[in-house]
Symmetry: C2
Subunit: 699 residues, 2 copies
């Protein structure tokens, strides 16, 4: 159900280092292309379309990034369609046990009733500028973490120079082709994003975890937000035209969004580390957290309400991990991957002869034992690679705020260029926005997360490791987590704001147990980060850069960069699937939904949707699949025709498609789409959203 | 902490099929040898000892099998030492929240106070007879499951003929060298086994899961049971002499016990299936059960009491699985394993030329896709291979009884030779003994287990599979498990006895929801078992038999059979370890225990033990390590000198040693032993067990 990105830290980490497409013969539809290097001719030849640069510009300016999700403008008054699961956190933040919008849906009948999402922000990519030369110059002659820090600092300078203090802009230096290119992306930024519509949660999640990452599907996983400026709906003359007609098999489509991270140039040795070390650890500890949360949710109605969203999150990431494990243990897939690598190595060897020729594959091979040794500590203490499911402190909100406050104070005391990259001047606005947002905090849930994290950290790093000792002292995970969560006052936004604004002095003077705790664990956690950067990330970056360069030499410029959480365009057609374990036509209808419903969760139809059954044309197409190249982060991506009409929103893919992280496989890769027809039906026939229906121009 | 066997079903399953030692160069101390083929000369040459056949006979008659554990006679009045974790179920069954022997220890001051372990039985191997010819003849000309069933039936006949209805004997046809040999093992059987001493649980489990499968250790994991006959202590003139003197590094030792199952002749393709499919699935679902149980245990004091033993069980098996995963992703280990296979294949090819030569490796390779496809259903519905952690219905006691009642009734309606092997006439006594035992049942815990199992089965087999539909109908796992566990009356032993004795008619007439449920799921669960036997087990058996034969041809008779849960003898010396991640001397002392104690669980010293601190010589050796070849099931194995004196009981090994399942590695393989010195100290200085101290002949 969720193709959103869970980790924002991907770009700075070693594992996100690989940068470009699987070499060798590519499928005609392979690639998540940047908008300034889209293969217009190839796409038109493949699809029989006639798109041009103005089309690309309109699509880009109609594409919205919202949190870890993608979205698309659908009216001239800032209305944006995305997935319901992309607004789930907003819905949870706006809900209470008494007024639970996840249960009832959120259905404001006027714009005045639309409510701001706490901490929500959205952005539209307005400009792309090449800054490769400046970035390369900044790193010249440096190695190790000095190299990394110098480039981070230069990126920060470029971003600050370009965006200054402008509240409505964001600047981001984007690394493409593993440092082969650097581009400055400038975004128009909206910090007032309001919820305009969300269906009943079950209407969007019918089938729950069991149907997640599968097809046929029957999920109205769509919602609307609206961008506001100066307390009024934003004016957005450029937007997608709403097309709610019945979709047709074989129609060419373009998918525009911000896919999170692919690792398509990982070498066989790197893939083995993912298969043997990264995924197994991440999956095993996630599975235990899942068990703890499930039991927690069964203890009371209140706990069920509190744990719903966290459980969905863990289950989604875990299931994605299962799909990746399956790819990495699929002999056919691995054989194809190995053949592509062999071809690339052969070309590389032919072009780089002589005793002094370097061998980036061998360099990467030599990094792996260190990576395998350091990964558990790095993942548990600093949040991992972004490939797996690991998040520090089990995703505790209070812990995360405390860490931001302590590290933020320590880092801001230094010049911007010397800070950890995420605290550079250009990025502080985003940090503050997350920190000051009003969000409900549930201590019971927080304690489950922190206890689990301390317990797993001690187990995986061993009780005698200096890390475990620093984290726990003589306390048990149960004692420590209870004491920290009971004692902290960080749930209060005013307390957080005062600590942030008070800087180091306020942090040092605070008697908040969680702040004190974060102070005591800075040394070991920063140490493992530095060690990882020096011994894993830096040599991985260096070798990966060589590979990227070699790849240009070997295969020319018909290549696209790995996904990096920035705007991309991919293309394909509406079609079903016909491989073992995945055989179906491209469409489902409401008739199929009624048929699949058993009444027992998660196969219970949402009450309002069920009540509208007689008003709904059962033949209306609900979900469909397309062949275009997507990955986590593509959630909510508009699916548009060559005429720029929106046909639906991408919300998922299949378990087999998870191999897409490591290589596009046309045979199995399918994205799952909620259609504009189904959304129109929901708005008009189920939830009485006549205002939105009119705004969309539905006749 | 636990090297006991969790699955009794190993012998009949496909995965236990491989039968013999890793070919190629063996370590001098490699091998878990049968008592009728022990390499006396080689052991004496390696160790510098002078053991002989009478020594072997004495050791055998002093060795006791107790449940899934090993044990040793230490007095002429039936006194037996084993591990505390081997009596944990007995202790739990005898305890209540009010009188919790796990907390207080069980310390009867007279024999009259010793209490019978519900359902407990013990046995001593008295005779070994070769029945290879009869068994081979029974299978002649048959294939597939007809072959399997015919041999099972012949084994049942041999067992019945030899033991008849004798209540004090058990007969077992043991498959060795994958069908190269069949031996009839005759045991003297004791069904009245009483608990004679157990320490405080924490004295035996100091360090808990964190220190489990590691060293240095500080655990008095020892307990005593006593064999009774005719309501009096059994007379056991043959027994080990108690030697509580300080152990000496380098001392040759023999370890006698019943190691459960090794898979040392699995081919590379089979190992890949274990690594890619079996272990990952088993570990992931075990991890979730662990999370559910941990949270369950935190909900109340009562739940903590109820869940203690189940959590220890899951954690132990899970940690063992981690060690196995580590072996199967260890490049050096795999390379050595591959080299051994290559050597074997080369010799095989040289000896088997010509177009008609079969290739068992290729046959096994061809089985793997089927195995990978069927494994999830087979594991979840029938309990897996015994390699992993899967147990049907999450180990629910009520479910297990219901299954025994339903299947037992159905099977007993047929002639013995046509039944599922575990219900053959010769095995019914053991089935009844387990079924009629008085055991406490905790519905809350049972419901957690069944809910988890239904939920995982639906998830792994997919909601649309016929299995999931048959198991759940239109109910959710939560609804179904609650209804079955709330409604069943099988917790009452009288109800179970009446249903057993009433046979099929009683089962058919029963309105017990769990009995009715088990009736409805017989068709699908029996179907997957049959399919597994036909498509996986039978071809695996056939090819493995060929490999075993070829192995004799290639390497002569200096080989031992894979462990099969029957009595074996291995040997080695007292020594520490000096490899990366595992460096320590061979001994720990009580001084080390006091030093490691933090006061917070699981590093809290048990109260009575702590109170005795001043009376204990801190230099007394507590635990030690030896190099002999052991595996799960060796728990409680007596460690004896060449003079037949007992020095301690094996209770664990290390995480790295888990590779022992796939190949003995002298460099890392270490068994962890609780010393007789430490046990003497506990009996004399902590628990005031003067009667036992005198009985052991301690001066």
């Amino acid at each position: 159900m969720r193709n959103l990105v869970l980790s924002a830290s991907v770009a700075v980490l070693g594992f996100a280092a690989a940068s470009s497409a699987l070499p060798g013969k590519a499928w005609a539809e392979e690639g998540m292309w940047t908008f300034d290097n889209f293969p217009i001719a190839r796409a038109n030849a493949t699809l029989g379309t006639a798109i041009d640069q103005p089309f690309l510009d309109r699509v880009r300016l109609s594409s919205v990034k919202f949190g870890g999700c993608s979205a698309g403008l659908v009216s001239d008054a800032g209305l944006v369609m995305t997935n319901n699961h992309c607004v789930a956190t907003c819905v949870a933040n706006l809900s209470t046990e008494a007024v639970n919008y996840a249960e009832t849906g959120f259905t404001p009948k006027t714009r005045e009733e639309e409510i701001k999402c706490p901490g929500g922000s959205a952005e539209i990519l307005t400009e792309i500028t090449d800054v490769t030369e400046r970035m390369h110059k900044a790193g010249e002659g440096l190695t190790g973490s000095a190299f990394t820090r110098a480039r981070d600092a230069e990126a920060g300078r470029i971003e600050s120079e370009a965006c200054g203090d402008a509240a409505d802009k964001r600047c981001q230096v984007v690394t493409l082709y593993r440092g082969g290119q650097f581009k400055l992306y400038t975004y128009k930024k909206y910090t007032d994003v309001r919820l305009a519509f969300a269906p009943e949660d079950r209407a969007a999640t019918f089938g729950g975890d069991l149907d997640n990452f599968s097809f046929p599907r029957f999920a109205i996983d769509a919602a609307f937000i609206r961008l506001y400026e100066n307390d009024a709906p934003a004016q957005t003359p450029t937007h997608f035209a709403w097309n709610a007609s019945t979709p047709v098999e074989g129609t060419p489509v373009f998918v525009t969004g911000s896919p999170g991270a692919t690792q398509r140039l990982l070498t066989q040795d790197q893939l083995a580390s993912v298969r043997d070390v990264v995924l197994p650890m991440d999956q095993l500890i996630a599975s235990e957290l899942r068990g703890r949360l499930i039991r927690f949710s069964e203890e009371s109605e209140q706990n069920a309400f509190i744990a719903m969203d966290p459980i969905v999150g863990v289950e989604n990431t875990y299931k994605r991990g299962l799909g990746r494990m399956r790819a990495l243990t699929d002999t056919d897939f691995l054989t194809a991957r190995a053949a592509a690598e062999a071809d690339f190595r052969q070309r590389y060897a032919a072009a780089n002869t002589g005793a002094s020729a370097s061998d980036p594959w061998s360099d990467l091979q030599q990094v792996q034992p260190t990576l395998r040794e350091l990964y558990p500590a790095y993942a548990l203490l600093e949040g991992g690679t972004g490939i797996g499911t690991t998040s520090v402190a089990g995703g505790s909100q209070l812990f995360s705020w405390a860490r931001t406050l302590v590290r933020g104070a320590q880092e801001r005391a230094k010049p911007s260029a010397e800070r950890l990259a995420e605290y550079g001047d250009a990025r502080l606005a985003a940090v503050q926005s997350g920190l000051f947002a009003e969000r409900p905090v549930y201590p019971g849930l927080e304690q489950v997360r922190v206890e689990w994290w301390l317990s797993k950290t001690r187990e995986w790093l061993t009780v005698d490791s200096p890390y475990a000792r620093a984290l726990l002292g003589s306390e048990s995970p149960e004692q420590k987590s209870a004491r920290l969560i009971e004692g902290t006052r960080l749930a209060d936004p005013a307390v957080r704001r005062a600590l942030w604004e008070g800087g180091l002095a306020a942090i040092a003077a605070s008697d908040d147990p969680l702040i004190q705790y974060l102070l005591t664990i800075q040394e070991p956690t920063r140490a493992i980060r530095t060690e990882w950067e020096e011994r894993v990330q830096a040599p991985t970056d260096r070798a990966s850069e060589q590979l990227a360069t070699a790849r240009f030499a070997a295969y020319g410029d018909t290549v696209y960069p790995d996904a990096t959480g920035t705007l991309r365009l991919s293309y394909g057609t509406i079609e079903g699937s016909d491989v073992p374990g995945q055989r179906w036509g491209p469409f489902t209808t409401f008739a199929g939904l009624w048929d699949r419903a058993t009444g027992a969760a998660p196969f219970d139809v949402a009450p309002k949707l069920l009540a509208a059954k007689d008003r709904i044309d059962a033949d209306t197409v609900l979900n469909m699949t397309v062949s275009s190249d997507t990955i986590g982060g593509s959630s909510g991506s508009p699916v548009v025709t060559a005429a720029g009409e929106i046909l639906g929103a991408n919300f998922d893919s299949t378990v087999l498609s998870q191999r897409n992280a490591y290589g596009y496989d046309r045979k199995v890769n399918r994205s799952v789409i909620v259609t504009t027809g189904a959304v129109t039906t929901a708005l008009r026939d189920v939830y009485g959203m006549d205002g939105l229906v009119a705004e969309l121009g539905v006749r």
